[in-house]
Each structure stands twice: as C-alpha cells, then as structure tokens.
C-alpha cells in the first residue's frame, strides 16, 4: 500500500509541473507584459512615466529575460510562496488569494459530500426498484440536472428568491460578517448561506453519480452470488447493502477524480453569478483586467487542487479495492 501511494505521489509531480507550464503560458499569452500595462495606466491617468523605474521593475520581475528564465523565476517564487504582484490591487498576490481559495475549497468539498450523500441512496433505490415510479422520477430529475447549466439554475433560483420570497441569495455571509474576523458566529453564518450554492453546484455531479450508481448496481444485482445469498435466506436489504452495493461503490470512488475538476470548473461560474467571495469571481476579474500574476496564481492553484483531488481518489480506490494495489 505504501509503495503504491509513493508511486502515485511521484506520478503527480510531472502533472503538477505540466499544470505550472499551462498556468505560465496563460500568464504570458496576452500581448504586452505587466510593466507595459502599468506604464499605460500611469500614462492614461496623466502621471509621469519614469523610464528608469520601469526598467527597474522589468529587471526585478525578470521581464527582460527570455521566457524560460522568466518561468523559472516565477515558479521559484511560487515555491517560496511569492506569486508576484497584483497590478490591479497593488498588493502581493499571495495576500489576496488564500482566504478565497479556502472558501472555494470548503464550497467544493461540501458539494462533493452533498453529491455523494444524495446520489448513493437514490442510486441504490433506483436500481433495486427498477422501473418504479421513484426510479422514473429520479431519472427525469437526473436528466434535468445534467442538462441544465449551473449558472442558469443559479439565475432562476435568484429570480424565485427575489420575486417570491423577497430575499437575496447571493454571497456567503450576511453583511455584518463580511469583513469580520473568523469566529463561531461567522462560521454558522457561512453554513446558513452555503447550502444554496452547494445545491446549485451539486446538481450535475449528483445526477451523473446517480446514473453511475444505478448502472453499476444493476450489473451486480443480476450476478449469481446475489441469487445464492438470497436463496440462503439473507434479509433483502442486508444482502443488497452488504455485497452488491459495496462492489458497485468502486467506480463510485474513482469518480472523485473526474468530479473534482468539474466541480472546480462549475464553481467559477456559479460563484460569479451568486457573487460568492471565492476564487472564481476574483480570477475572472483578474483575467478581464489582464492582471496576469493574480489570474495565473488562481489557475495554477485550481489546477493543483484538481490534481490533488485525483491523487486522493486514486489512493482511496486502492484502499477500497486491493486488486489495484498489486497491479
């Protein structure tokens, strides 16, 4: 088991490296660099542009160096926790991102738990009571959940909340907690707001998990060992929960691997619509303003999130299924 984990950890390194290349490529893609953009803004606001200062800035960030050197300067900084300066906020990027990434992580993790918690019982029910009314209802809801884009659900919910209930469902905190330091009250306030984005974000993942669970369990239910167990007089629910469900759970665990990147993706746009204080909206703002160090840091860290998610899913899978460990 330990060797498997170590092997998997080593495998993750080239992936992380590739992710950093992608993020760096995205930083350098837009025409012009950080200092040109800054000089432009200064000139627009009528300030004197000091060429010597610009040159000093260029030298500091290595912008006069070839791209490969720039990459190593950037990634070297990142490894020491220095993500560069945010040009729009005039602050180090590192000061801006951590709280938002933390909230993003809480949102995505809660959504995953929600999706599992809902999909598991519904999936088992639909498979065991195949073609019952409940199964059809679950299938229809599942299809809708897959087809509706997250941001549309968010918009419709916002509309219903404002028009019919007169409340505002945006944000993650009530106004009095927005800038307050962390406390128990702030945390409960977060939980009171969190469930709406969790449901919105979780619909498509839950829908596909239900379909996977149903299909897997249906495959297992028709196998001879189930008939044998039933013939031996095991009670129906005990039998189903103990054997076929446990086997059907295998691919279920591996879904974290693909569900996590999808959740991170979906969260960006949902958070934008609901104006949540998570990573997505700030990243968007940074991209629109071409504040590339800030945007690059977000892209890099979100990619790392999802690679780590895959890693965890692989390790969990090996824990559940001994065959994988010894492959």
């Amino acid at each position: 088991m330990i060797t498997y984990v170590i092997r998997r950890l080593i495998w993750a390194i080239p992936f992380l490296f590739a992710a950093s290349l992608v993020a760096f490529a995205l930083i350098t893609l837009p025409p012009g660099d950080y200092v040109t953009t800054m000089a432009q803004t200064l000139a627009e606001s009528g300030d004197q542009v000091d060429q010597a200062r610009l040159a000093a800035l260029r030298a500091r960030y290595g912008l006069d160096q070839p791209l490969i050197v720039q990459y190593f300067m950037w990634i070297g900084g990142v490894l020491q926790g220095d993500f560069g300066m945010s040009f729009e906020w005039n602050q180090p990027v590192a000061d801006l991102i951590w709280e938002r990434l933390g909230l993003s992580f809480i949102l995505e993790f809660s959504t995953l738990i929600f999706a599992w918690g809902v999909a598991l019982p519904i999936g088992v029910y639909s498979a065991v009571r195949k073609y019952s009314v409940g199964d059809y209802v679950a299938s229809v809801l599942g299809f809708l959940g897959l087809a509706l884009p997250n941001f549309l659900i968010a918009l419709v919910l916002m509309y219903i909340a404002v028009v019919h209930f007169g409340t505002d469902v945006t944000g993650l905190f009530s106004p009095q907690y927005r800038d307050a330091p962390w406390s128990w009250a702030k945390f409960t306030n977060l939980l009171a707001h969190l469930w709406i984005p969790v449901i919105i974000l979780g619909t498509s993942t839950t829908a596909s998990l239900i379909r996977i669970m149903r299909a897997n369990l249906l495959d297992e239910l028709s196998k001879p060992y189930v008939v044998t167990a039933r013939a031996k007089g095991l009670s129906e629910w005990k039998l189903i929960l103990k054997y076929p469900v446990r086997l059907a759970l295998n691919p279920f665990v591996s879904t974290i691997g693909w569900a996590f990147p999808q959740l991170i993706s979906g969260a960006v746009i949902t958070a934008y619509v609901l104006s949540l204080p998570t990573a997505g909206p700030l990243m968007l703002q940074a991209l629109l303003a071409q504040d590339m160090y800030l945007a690059g840091a977000f892209i890099l860290l979100l990619c790392c999130f999802s690679i780590v998610g895959m890693l965890i899913s692989d390790i969990l899978l090996a824990l559940v299924d001994p065959r994988i460990r010894f492959r």
Binding site: V156, Y159, V162
Partner: protein, 379 residues
C-alpha cells in the same frame, strides 16, 4: 414495374441482407425519445440556418417605445362584437403606462387594439447568408407599423424571440464546429495511440489524463482572456471554437483509442493486413467504418457540452461579444437581478439552451444504444 417487397417479411427476418447502417437505424427507431429529439435537433438547425426568415424582426432593430415590453400570447380565434367568430390569429395590443412618481413603465393590454398576424407576410427586408434578398418572414403583423413581441423585448426594445432565433445559428453551429475540430484531433491522436500502441500510446494517454485532470473552465477563461481585444467578431468566433475544441477532444480520443484497441486483433482486420492492404487502407477502409456509429454517438454527446461551454463563456463576457448574437451573449442581459425581476422573459434563450442540450443528450443516448446493433439483438 417494381415488385414490392412485403415490409413484414423484412421485419420478421433480420437476415444477413441488412447492412450495419440498416440495423443501427432499426435499433435507433425503437427509442421514441431519441427519435423525437432527432426531430427537435434538426428543427433547431433549420431555424438557425433560416434565422432571418423565421425571425419576425431584425434582431438589431431597437425601439425606444417598447423597452421591456412583456410577451404577448397569440389568440387564434377572433371573436367579433356581435358574437361571430373567425380563425384569424392576433395578439392583444398593449399600451404603456408611466408611474408618475417612479417613472417606471408598465404595459397594460388594450382590449381595443388587435394586431393581426399573417404567415409569410412582408416585413423588414433582410439579406440571408449575404445572398438572398427578401422581406418575407414566417410570421409578420398584417399592419407593417404594428410590432408584436411573442417573447417580449429587452432593455433596448429589441425582440427577444428574433434574437433567440438568431442566437440558435451561432450557438448550434459553434457546437457542431467545435466538435468537428475535436473530432479531427481526437480521431488522429486516438487512432495513432490505439493503432500503434507502445510509447506513442503512453505519451498520448498521459496528455489526455493531464487535460482531464485540469479544471476546464479556468483554462478556457485564461485562453479566451488572452485573445486580442481588437479581433473582428468572426475571428473571435473561430478562435473561441478552437479554444473549446483544444480542451474538448480528450473524450473522443479515448473512445477512438478504445475502439482501435479492440478492433486491432479482429479477424477481418488481420485478414486485411495479411492480404497486403496498406496501413492507410486498413485504417480508413476497414477500421474506421466499423467504428463510425460509435464515433457519431460520442460526437452527439459532445455537442451539448460545447454548447454549454460557449454559453457559459459568453455569459461571463469572455466568449463571444456583441454584435454576435449567441444564447450566452443574450443571457448576459439576464445577469443582474434587477433586469430579471423586471423582465423574466429574458430567460428565453436559457430555455432554448436547455431544450437543445436535453435533445442532444437523448439523441446521443439513443445512438449509443443503437451503435452496436449486433450486441443489441441479444436483449
């Protein structure tokens, strides 16, 4: 004179005469939902292709008198004052009322004003596909000066129905184009990977895994934010298509690779190779046709993802931008809570997205089940 074959004889006897396409079609026809979805998808593409004709108005024509005009329902039967009636579709005219204090406008139906509609009537002139000049529309008002808004208007008084119809052209075609591009990349890389195996397979598979493990939307956003702002709308449209397919090809590559791997050792492929068929001939003449139905099914399931991606990108302002009209660009109007509270009909393009995506999903599911007519016979 042709001799007619009794159709029952064919149905009862699925003999070796039927080609694979015939068998696939036969299996597909059993899925009523997939069949209905096929009709909807074709209808959407037709609407998109003939948008100028189907839309009652020019999508760009603004009207300051009709800002946030609510939708008007069509009445089919026209009751006269004296109780007589005729089938003559019309919509109820609306008059604007301005609140003296808040100055906000409200529209109220005006029972005395009936705007009669006519099929294939003359309306605003247009040039379709830059070629055909006409002023005939599917549905127009009988009186040219009267406008009617079946789905209401937006903040500039533009007809939401006409704009949604024009949006279908861009949104539906970007899905198709993006998938075509991903298909080319996917078939090439997946094919090479599955056919040759070995090191190439290893490298391609690692790249696919990497792309699958990255969150797509941040990458898409980063790429489209890097597009130069001064590009023309058309260039931007193609660039967005390329960006969508650069990330979206992985699923297709996996399908193609899997099929190549399983077909590589099939008897007919080995026979073709032993017969001295060149590599190209083995791949294009023997292997690709036998996986075509699988590829079509995966492509159909990939299109809705593309449509949603385009909608999402345009919705947050990093995809297509006006003057291009796509469903995402239209939904951008419905972004702030004030405008959707005032004009919920701005959701209309969203409903169109949902119908299109659902139809493609059902169609793709049906195709996937039908793609293997031989294994299906067993069930």
């Amino acid at each position: 004179m042709n001799t007619l074959v009794d159709p029952r004889a064919i149905a009862m006897n699925p003999d070796a005469q039927a080609s694979q396409w015939k068998l696939t079609w036969r299996a597909f026809r059993k899925h009523k939902l997939a069949l209905a979805s096929l009709v909807i998808v074709v209808l959407f593409y037709l609407i998109g292709a003939f948008a100028e004709f189907v839309a009652p108005f020019d999508p760009e024509s603004t009207s300051s008198r009709n800002i946030y005009h609510p939708p008007q329902g069509i009445h089919l039967i026209d009751w006269g004052e004296d109780g007589s009636w005729a089938i003559r579709p019309y919509v109820q005219g609306m008059t604007i009322k301005r609140d003296p204090i808040s100055l906000s406008a409200t529209y109220e139906p005006d029972p005395n004003r009936k705007i009669y509609l006519s099929l294939f009537g003359q309306g605003q002139p247009y040039t379709m596909w830059g070629l055909i000049q006409s002023d005939r529309h599917l549905l127009t008002s009988a009186d040219l000066d009267e406008a009617f808004f079946l789905l209401g208007t937006d903040r500039l008084g533009r007809d939401v129905l006409s704009r949604t119809i024009h949006g279908a052209r861009i949104s539906m075609s970007i899905g198709l184009m993006g998938v075509t591009l991903s298909l080319l990349i996917g078939v090439f890389l997946g094919g090479v990977s599955g056919y040759y195996g070995g090191t190439i397979d290893m490298v391609v598979q690692r790249v696919v895994e990497l792309i699958l493990s990255l969150p797509t939307i941040p990458i898409w956003l980063g790429l489209s934010a890097a597009l130069p702002q001064d590009w023309s709308p058309l260039t931007r449209y193609f660039a967005i298509t390329v960006i969508l397919s650069l990330v979206g090809w992985t699923e297709l590559a996996r399908v193609v690779r899997g099929r190549f791997l399983s077909l590589r050792m099939e008897d007919f492929v080995i026979a073709a190779r032993l017969d001295g068929g060149s590599q190209g001939r083995v791949i294009f003449r023997h292997m690709l046709p036998s996986m075509a139905s699988h590829i079509i099914a995966s492509v159909t399931l990939a299109i809705p993802a593309m449509i949603i991606a385009e909608t999402a990108l345009s919705f947050i302002g990093l995809g297509l931008t006006p003057p291009i009209i796509s469903w995402g660009v239209l939904l951008k109007e419905a972004q702030n809570i004030r405008s959707i509270a005032q004009a919920p009909w701005l959701f209309a393009p969203g409903v169109a997205v949902c119908i299109a995506v659902l139809a493609f999903n059902f169609l793709g599911d049906g195709l996937r089940d039908a793609a293997d007519p031989y294994t299906n016979e067993r069930h």
